[in-house]
């Protein structure tokens, strides 16, 4: 279980924004912890966020084993949009295959971007999924 840790205001506002989107959206904090995804993302992941809970993104992504569409090789976090947004602090986009908790393999387009707060401080990332 994650320790209770006050969420940055930008994450609080991002969550509210995401909760009103029909596009699958995932939010991490600056440490790379998955802190929220919306109902639309549940369709891709096959499990609700309330069931999954907060966890390090690496633990999370190990569960759904993303693979390259072109080569079928496993994609480590640092080569996926969310990892790039976190580590390199820039937006990134990619198409890959992922296996949901329900065992179904889905192909998704993914865009991730870092969130910077007022003091130019990285506070997290937003990742948007399109099921293709």
């Amino acid at each position: 279980m994650a320790a209770v840790r006050q969420k940055h205001l930008v994450l609080i506002l991002a969550r509210e924004f995401a909760s009103n989107l029909a596009t699958g959206t995932l939010i991490t904090d600056e440490r790379g912890w998955l802190v929220y995804y919306n109902e639309a993302a549940e369709e891709v992941f096959g499990v609700s966020f309330s069931e999954a809970g907060e966890m390090p993104l690496e633990d999370w992504s190990a569960r759904y084993a993303p693979r390259s569409v072109e080569t079928d090789e496993a994609l480590p976090l640092e080569r996926r949009p969310t990892g790039i947004a976190l580590k390199e602090r820039r937006p990134a986009h990619q198409r890959f295959r992922t296996r949901g908790f329900d065992g179904v393999v889905r192909e998704v387009e993914v865009t991730a971007f870092p969130l910077f707060a007022h003091a130019d401080e990285l506070v997290g990332t937003v990742t948007i999924f399109w099921h293709v």
């Binding site: 209770v4 006050q6 969420k7 940055h8 205001l9 609080i12 506002l13 707060a117 007022h118 003091a119």
Partner: protein, 281 residues
């Protein structure tokens, strides 16, 4: 810790016979610590009479903590007597910006066409600080700041001494980030600032029906203020940032509504009034 309210009106100074009981000066709260040190919260028009008193008391060094730079929280600074005394030292703390320093942002209000005297000509020694991300110490008090829901870069403050705690969230619209009552505390704007405090001073500018017409303006309804205090387990709630259109009679009704919502009368929510003093243990 002792608090004195020097201004609790929101948005615009509102002098006149109809606001004489709650007062018309904009946000300014004096916090006096056990050793006599003074922290000034915000620099609305209430800071002008406070400045005169600080000079009379011979206090020459203190801190001003700004939540944000909207005019109603800054406009008194130019008329704050201690700034015009070369023997005074002031530390001014405020929210960060990626674009310009706190000094440069405050200096805009000390420049034409808004004001005839440049900040560089102010005789007091002023040091500007962006609030740190982590708690820091001022005269033995532990001070925390965090960004809160309000348009632009805005922080709230938590001040703790050995015996008491106080949170200052004068401009705050936590409902904009989702229903307050349904959220875990760590997902509530300013939750770590206000959690379990002895006294929460919180924005309650509107009645519920007024708020419906002003969503996104950065202020709370009385119902949201009461729900927020409950969600963060604040022991006592002081309602603040009174709407300029609300005369004393309206504010009496706002307080009654807050008590009705809280289900408490004796120790229920109260409205801040100019001149009010609150002693915390």
């Amino acid at each position: 810790m002792r608090l004195r309210i020097w201004g609790c009106r929101g948005s615009l100074p509102t002098p006149g016979a109809e606001t004489v009981r709650y007062g018309g000066n904009t946000s300014c709260v004096e916090v006096t610590l056990e050793d006599g040190a003074v922290l000034v919260l915000d620099a609305g028009t209430g800071i002008r009479p406070l400045g005169s008193e600080l000079l009379e008391r011979g206090i020459r060094r203190f801190h001003v903590l700004l939540t944000h730079l909207h005019l109603d929280h800054l406009e008194g600074l130019r008329f704050f007597g201690p700034l015009w005394d070369a023997d005074v030292s002031v530390d001014i703390w405020g929210p960060p910006s990626p674009v310009s320093s706190l000094r440069d942002r405050v200096a805009r209000s000390f420049s034409p066409p808004l004001f005839p005297v440049d900040l560089r000509e102010v005789p007091a020694r002023i040091t500007f600080h962006d609030v740190p991300r982590e708690p820091w110490s001022l005269n033995g008090a532990r001070v925390s700041a965090d960004l809160v829901v309000h348009p632009g870069s805005t922080v709230g403050y938590r001040i703790e001494t050995a015996g008491s705690s106080f949170a200052y969230l004068p401009d705050h619209e936590p409902a904009l980030a989702g229903a307050i009552a349904d959220r875990p505390r760590d997902w509530i704007s300013g939750g770590s600032l206000a959690e379990g405090v002895d006294l929460l001073l919180h924005d309650a500018q509107y009645f519920e029906d007024e708020y419906e017409q002003r969503v996104g303006w950065g202020h709370s309804s009385v119902a949201d203020a009461v729900a927020y205090a409950d969600a963060v387990s604040a022991r006592r709630l002081l309602l603040f940032h009174h709407e300029p259109l609300h005369a004393d009679g309206s504010l009496d009704r706002l307080e009654a509504r807050a008590r009705e919502l809280a289900g408490r009368n004796g120790d229920g929510p109260t409205l801040a009034r100019e001149g009010m003093v609150v002693e915390l243990p």
